[in-house]
């Protein structure tokens, strides 16, 4: 595939996605806003939107723009496939910063669905880390190219409350959530874990380019890390929890409690707080259309109660602004920060 055609084909999709984010979503929202009587429950919203042609287009575009992004003629997967040898040559399989574990079992919930409609998921193909990295540039189109800001803002928020020395980033992917920590806190030791070796390898390339010495990427399961008990001051994750079934979330929180030192803080960024029935309807629809099977059960979980039951204190659940000027009527994820402290 020629690079110019790939770039134009992807630019077209992103532009269509922006239209979807602002115009189509705005039109759908208006249909609900002007409905009479005002829908109050999920079922009410469904009653307004199910017969709506605008909503059918909204749904179609949500599913198919993402599908075309990954799988179409100018899709990320065929594009990476065409560059296979070059891309593999960019990976440093002997990087001292990365430890993969080919024997690590992949959980069923993880392998049975291709989340984000990424064929083969982020774990099965050696190139999946590159594909995911490229794809992540346009997941939150309302913010355009400034997606990196989201992770930086989250790190800034945590650091504003104190500088942790020993940090664990669970479900680090290709290291986008880890990077602001190892760069902004050179004194800290950062450990990042993920199930996907192809993503960890890409994270390693970036960290070497950054000349980072204070980070390591380990192929491990977040809810069974095998890391020493009480060995971290901060456990964090970004967009990990919604990918897990409730019992694994519970196990992940218990694992965080185990590896945290007494008084240590746990802060997760994910999609959780849904202010009204419309937001809920749109989010659950997104989950179905984007192959995010566990998004809905996670949003329905009483996470605060679970954390208190597990012995955490100072539990807070708060909305998170992913950018400075979030347009009020554009589609967006329900960003939420979930934090808690391990009792001292």
């Amino acid at each position: 595939m020629d690079e110019r055609a790939f770039s134009a084909g992807q630019a077209f999709l992103l532009s269509a996605k922006l239209f979807w984010t602002h115009k189509l979503f705005g039109a759908v929202k208006d249909e609900v806003r002007t409905a009479s009587p005002q829908p109050k429950t999920l079922a009410d919203v469904a009653k307004v939107l199910s017969p709506s042609t605008t909503y059918a287009y909204f749904e179609w575009f949500e599913r198919h723009l993402q599908k075309m992004k990954y799988s179409g003629r100018y899709g990320l997967v065929p594009h990476a496939d065409g560059l296979r040898r070059d891309l593999l040559a960019r990976l440093d399989v002997n990087s001292p910063l990365v430890q993969v574990d080919p024997a690590l079992p992949m959980p069923d919930y993880y392998t049975s669905v291709d989340v984000h409609q990424h064929p083969g998921g982020v774990w099965s193909d050696e190139l999946a880390g590159f594909v995911y990295e490229e794809g992540a540039r346009s997941t939150t189109p309302a913010m355009g190219v400034k997606h990196a800001d989201l992770h930086q803002r989250f790190t800034d928020l945590i650091v504003s409350e104190g500088k942790p020395k020993r940090i664990l980033d669970m479900g680090c992917g290709f290291g986008k959530s880890t990077r602001p920590f190892y760069r902004d806190l050179p004194e800290a030791e950062v450990t990042a874990v993920d199930l996907a070796a192809p993503c960890l390898n890409v994270a390693g390339v970036q960290a070497s380019q950054d000349q980072a010495r204070n980070v390591r990427f380990l192929q491990k399961n977040a809810y069974e890390t095998g890391l020493p008990a009480g060995s971290f001051d901060l456990v964090t994750s970004t967009m990990l929890l919604h990918e897990m079934p409730p019992e694994k979330i519970e196990a992940t929180m218990a694992e965080a409690a185990r590896v945290l030192a007494p008084g240590g803080r746990m802060v997760h960024l994910d999609f959780h707080m849904l202010p009204d029935a419309f937001a809920r309807f749109i989010h659950y629809g997104h989950a179905v259309r984007n192959n995010e099977v566990y998004m809905e059960p996670w949003a329905e979980m009483d996470i605060a109660a679970l954390l208190r039951k597990q012995g955490f204190t100072d539990v807070t659940i708060a909305p998170f602004a992913e950018a400075d000027n979030v347009p009020p009527d554009a589609w967006r994820f329900p960003w939420t920060v979930i934090s808690a402290t391990k009792a001292a």
């Binding site: 110019r4 084909g9 630019a11 077209f12 059918a56 287009y57 179609w60 198919h64 179409g72 003629r73």
Partner: protein
């Protein structure tokens, strides 16, 4: 694209599944069109850089003669594009 094994039918959003499928065709075509437009722009930029054509000359409004010549072409183009909307047979049977 290689023929991948079937993973099962796609989700349906319109009352008539024909529309779901047709939207896919329309969007693939629109994407191709944009890729071609982009290539053309690239070609023009290169040609202009080499002094073969001038972008200003390409962008100016067509002369009357050009506009007339375009009419026939356009009539054929639009006819071919929109005739299917009339849903008429072109053979007996």
């Amino acid at each position: 694209m290689t023929d991948a094994p079937s993973l099962g039918p796609e989700q349906q959003f319109f009352a008539d599944p024909a529309l779901d499928r047709m939207m896919g065709v329309v969007m693939a075509m629109a994407q191709e069109l944009y890729v071609t437009r982009d290539r053309l722009r690239g070609l023009e930029t290169l040609l202009a850089e080499k002094g073969v054509v001038s972008t200003a000359a390409l962008d100016r409004a067509p002369t009357e003669a050009e506009a007339r010549a375009r009419q026939d072409d356009l009539k054929e183009f639009v006819g071919a594009l929109l005739t299917p909307l009339l849903a008429q047979k072109t053979s007996h049977g």
